[in-house]
Symmetry: D3
Subunit: 319 residues, 6 copies
């Protein structure tokens, strides 16, 4: 059950489901017994909950896990809903992903599916050096690959959920492949490789919580931003596979210029076709996700004032 719908129910209503633990603290009640004081949330709602007389072994469950299966009873305190927890369980791994997804905290498409598609795209890159480079980064560097697969695309702006970075990267790459079908003047392998690596620096820029949701920026994320971090990671990968100089230089330029303008974070503007196209393909993917989500917050035929887009977003009056 979505937490936003709790209030439609009367006091005493029983709920069960997998939710995020946004905050957890052990406190002492007036009767001297320990109780758990926590906030339970799904992607858009947050509800306070109390676990009276919490058994000691359950405390660790809360402290080590970001999501738990919860059985609770609804109560109201000054008209606001509040839950009394009856019992908690560790959900199965498969259950966790499924519930994250249904709560809007994970990419709609299964991460493993997307990763398989990513690898297949890489395997089809014609230029040997680029194929080696991409394989080195996204497949052979297991530690990076694991992080990348589940990393969010942003803290707030777009694809801001688990697996969002992979999803966005794949959208840009597939968009590039599609576009190249109609345009034989484009250096397809350059554009494709640039699409795949353009945001790798976000893995080091965005700080994630226990679950993998973005909660802010890392120290190096704030001081260097993902473009410079991505350049550093790419340079190291290019060195490893001995990529030829011009191609490595073009890829670096694509990362550096993909925000398009100085005021949007790119100190150089795109200076060749593939770099320019990357900028627009990146935006197509990012803005589709962002506009759709922002429009959903409006009534059909109405507007939603979007803080991240700095304008009002219209939602058409029919589906």
């Amino acid at each position: 059950m979505k937490l936003g719908e709790l209030v439609k129910n009367p006091k005493g209503f029983k709920i069960t489901g997998i939710y995020r633990i946004s905050r957890f603290e052990v406190k002492t009640a007036r009767n001297g017994k320990a109780y758990g004081d926590c906030l339970i949330s799904d992607h858009s709602f947050e509800v306070p909950a109390k676990y009276w007389d919490i058994p000691t072994e359950r405390v660790a469950l809360f402290q080590k896990n970001g999501v738990l299966r919860i059985d609770a009873t609804l109560d109201y305190f000054k008209d606001s809903p509040q839950l009394t927890i009856e019992s908690v369980f560790l959900p199965l791994p498969a259950e966790v992903d499924q519930s994250l997804s249904s709560l809007g905290m994970m990419a709609p498409r299964p991460i493993d599916d997307m990763y398989v598609e990513l690898k297949s795209i890489i395997a089809n890159v014609g230029h040997e050096g680029l194929r080696k480079l991409l394989t080195g980064i996204f497949v052979d560097d297991r530690q990076f690959a694991e992080k990348f697969k589940r990393h969010p695309g942003a803290v707030k702006n777009h694809h801001a959920y688990i697996g969002g970075l992979l999803e966005h990267t794949l959208e840009v790459a597939v968009g590039a492949l599609d576009y190249c079908k109609r345009n034989d003047k484009i250096k397809r392998d350059i554009l494709l490789a640039a699409a795949l690596v353009h945001d790798i620096g976000k893995v080091r820029e965005i700080e994630v919580d226990m679950l993998g949701m973005g909660i802010g920026f890392t120290r190096e994320g704030k001081l260097l931003r993902h473009i410079s971090l991505g350049l550093e990671m790419l340079e190291s990968a290019c060195q490893s596979v001995g990529l030829e100089a011009e191609i490595s230089l073009m890829l670096k330029h694509c990362i550096l210029s993909h925000h398009g303008q100085a005021e949007w974070g790119s100190p150089v503007e795109p200076m060749f076709l593939e770099a320019e196209l990357l900028h627009y393909l990146d935006n197509l993917s990012a803005k589709t996700e962002q506009f759709y989500r922002e429009a959903e917050r409006a009534e059909p035929g109405g507007f939603n004032k979007s803080a991240t887009l700095r304008r009002e977003i219209y939602r058409p009056g029919w589906e």
Copy 2:
């Protein structure tokens, strides 16, 4: 023969071919006889030519036609090439288009082919009102359709040749269709219709010469620009077919906002998904043509300083 290659030949060299007449004047030679003083050009080069003792009936040929088949002899004046015209002929209509195309003054793909594709796209629009609207504009309004088919996409920036507006419009529309295949959240018919009408105002904004090449802006083009002109044309078409209010409003917003920002000519930023996507799809088509053409002017592995893009454009060192 491309005029840029003339200088590789010696004085007395004979050339024959179809060229543009950029300027023509009848003057009087020192011997008291009339001669034709003109400039012959292809898309990238311009050469002065003299037609001594020009027969009176040929004068009209020059005055009424933008391109002519020319037989001439090469001469040099202060190291610069100059032609002496021996005879001129009116080329066949088919020959004209072919030569315009080979001179870079017409879209590479035949205009009629492109128009057939445009009509087939319109015929497949699902929404009846929109299909009527588009048919009304691009098919039934014969006068507009004839102009639109051969109109240039710009005076200088992109698709600046005969048929360029149709070519660009088609690229944006096909790009929209492609993109929608992967994204079921987009209102496909809105995006498609917006893609087709986004630049119709250019037919009234850009002034063309006898051939159909853009040579500047019309009076209303300067005072109102193509966005306002397009809005006016769309409003009139919407009224004709009685398009429902919300859809007509959304299309108008797409035209109004498709430059993306106030400083780029759009007084409102895109406020829904389809309008935002149009902005990027428009750029993909425009920038592909523009970057490719600007890069061609550089040596492989070198840069070309582009005035219209305000930056240097790199041409990769390999093909």
Copy 3:
């Protein structure tokens, strides 16, 4: 009595007057009886009021009217004033306008007087086509004329009250007439007509409440803004009277460019004298009203931080 002065009186004080009903809801009291819970306001103050045991027939009075004559008794709840309504009456139409005006919710000068002046200005336009055009818009189109006469000039910025649009339009037109007296190089009829039509799009852009006060923007107001809406309305009127092309084009340019710069909403800058003058005459009227009102909120010799003007406004220390 101004509501801002209520707090100078003791509990039990009786007031009577015509006020705006900003909010009205029927609720059930603890004793099970219906009561009316509302907010009563004048232009600068808002006070909660309760109407205990509200008679059923009075409920409709509240629901159908924006202003009512109210008899009430003053009370205090946690030091804040609150009214208990004794009885309400429907004010006479003449009373309504008078009280709106004294509450700062209507233009100081009677609307009918201003409209008479507007018509007399139009009747004196020398150019026949323009006189027809203006008569068509402001006199013959009765539906538009009725809306225009009472429409506010803005939601917040300037002339933001009933009749404000007419008042502002008249000020710009009279300013144009005055200025032309000293300058015979100006095409007076163009400037005058441009002054009269420059903001007609606001009738469709600004959403008004039951009373006629601006409360936000309409759907088309947000998606197209008043400049594009005004262009559309003007084009339609020009077609009706068959205005000559150049004059119609110049008027459209005046509407399009009257905000002066891209960042202020005009995609083209004024390109002839009359368009440029309109921009400054528009500002003279708008800023006189806005600065005067903002300064009134400061103490004499002090400053008021104006949100709409984004600066502090000084009020001189003497009158």
Copy 4:
């Protein structure tokens, strides 16, 4: 005769008239004799002229005077017109002003008339302190008054001719008086005084030639600009007449803010009504002169690309 019309005449044509001497140098001809080499101009055209065997006493005439009455014969050198001077005379003072005016180098209205009007406006200022201040500046300070009366309003932008500063100042002041008639909320004397002093710093900012035409900026004009120079002059005048502090402060603010924005040279934006109005009244006068002059350079129904206005200016197709 306007110099721009010279070329319509054949070699040997005689002209006589009063012209500006833009450049004059004594050189030695091949025959060893001295000749005068000069440039003769009116406001829009410049023609080279030779004075063969120039009599010594005439050399001084050229060196000490900016305009001379010239009798000359037309010749052509490589198709360009060139004059051979037959004789020169010192024109009468009245003749000079008249001819400067007809050449577009002096305000159309006689300077003395304008100055009389200025003094009469000052005499009618109600506030005694302000009247004293303005009398002190524009009447009693004879040295300043003499300069001010003939100073140009700019080097290039607007009112860029002798007497232009006085003409512009008067236009702004009269505009202020007119506007105040309709608006009793404006502090008329403040606005009027601000209008009169707003550009006094230009007397020290613009460097003039012998005739009084602006030819560039003075050292202090470049380093401080006319706003800071005007503030300094005003402060000194305020001290002299002991003007009350608040009024003096308000006038200074009006000078400081009259360009309206930081990017246009005003470090503070107008912060009270009269300062804001001054900004628009200043623009009305400046832009009327500038647009009219720029439009005159276009054909009727055509455009002139204006360098100072950074846009194309349209000239209507009828008078």
Copy 5:
């Protein structure tokens, strides 16, 4: 004791110390007796305090002094600390400064020491006219000198405490002296004099409270800003000592341009070496103080979001 540490202590804890009186009012308690209701603060914390049965002669103490020595007892009201004042004393002047300094409300270095250094720098200026000018302003004009010595450098941005203006001015001047040692191309006396006078206008721009802390801007500070005020003060001083024109002009330009750009408040950019250097030396001093203070508010190794610097400031993880 720092007020921020109060809460570590239990109810009934006794404190004594010199604090700022941020607000003081005499009220009547329920028992009908007068009591003092005030806010006690140091630079970063504010605590409410009550002085029950306040003796009449103590009321004046509070009203006339910004800091007092206070003996009080700690209490808690809804978990927030609150003080009950037992007695108050007037601190000795030396005590006041010492405590202001320890509370971060006064420059760390004694004001008299800094002033001695300032005078010694002036005495060593080589150019006689400049030495006279500076002596006239900073030494002979006793009234100005007394204000300048204790004036804050800003209300919020940098050196925002008593003596901050003197401290900042000295830092810029010493920086100039240091820099000149390595660069013999700089006109040392010009740069030094410019450094000393660059912010003198702040004495008239910033409004101070009884203690001397900046609490806002004066009327002339808002309407003219410190750059124009400083120019006026400098002009008057230059006149007094009859400084040669070029030097006076260069100093004025230094004041006018020292913010570097129009958008930062300087209507002209620096146009000679010394003016340009002043801009950077001014920033070195200002930013050192500001960054250091903002970084102190972060944890070591963490960030502080600075409102005045509009970015996050990093504090290194080690000392």
Copy 6:
């Protein structure tokens, strides 16, 4: 002799000196013999020269060397000076540097002296890791050190001569040391190291000619700019010496942010004290050189319109 002074001498004048060969070509004279056609220049002037009947062995001299000792005779062609070369010699290495320096093409101070100072500064860095890092870059990496020592600081803007990069770097570093003496809150070793490495990327960004003068940008210089190149070089050096993470991160941030703002090329603004100071110290050095050089081009008491500084630069009227 400075080439700019050539024109003061008559035809036939003999000159001898070491000059730059800006262009050299072997051509065939009308008499069928080979001659050398070249341009001889010093930093501010360029003169054409002919070497008639050039001996074959001299051709190589011209082709392999950027500067030569030249004996020539002055001639005039259409009033412009032209040289006839009598003989050329290879100058001694010491002579070359000396003459480059006197021609303004090399830093005024000997490169080896500056490099010794640089090493001594590095040797005195207290933090062991930073000392190792700097030694690794500037001393142990012999290839880089040799390039760095003679590299220009820019193509045009500042320190645009051989050794200019070393000179500028040293100025910033010494400025940092000086400034730290007075401010114990600065992390001296961080600031110093940042000063030394801030422009190392210029070695890869600026393309130099045979002599070492900057003639444009390299391919990677255009596509990545010196900030990104410097980051890459720094990262590699940090890895080599295993510098601790926080310090390496802070240095990278200093390079990335040292241009201060997005519009000046830094995608992040300085976020800690040392990074902010670097920005101003960098400017102090750069602007001192640039303003001084630009002012030298003006007359004393006059202005020079500087293209690189986009403003007029004033040169004081006395030395």
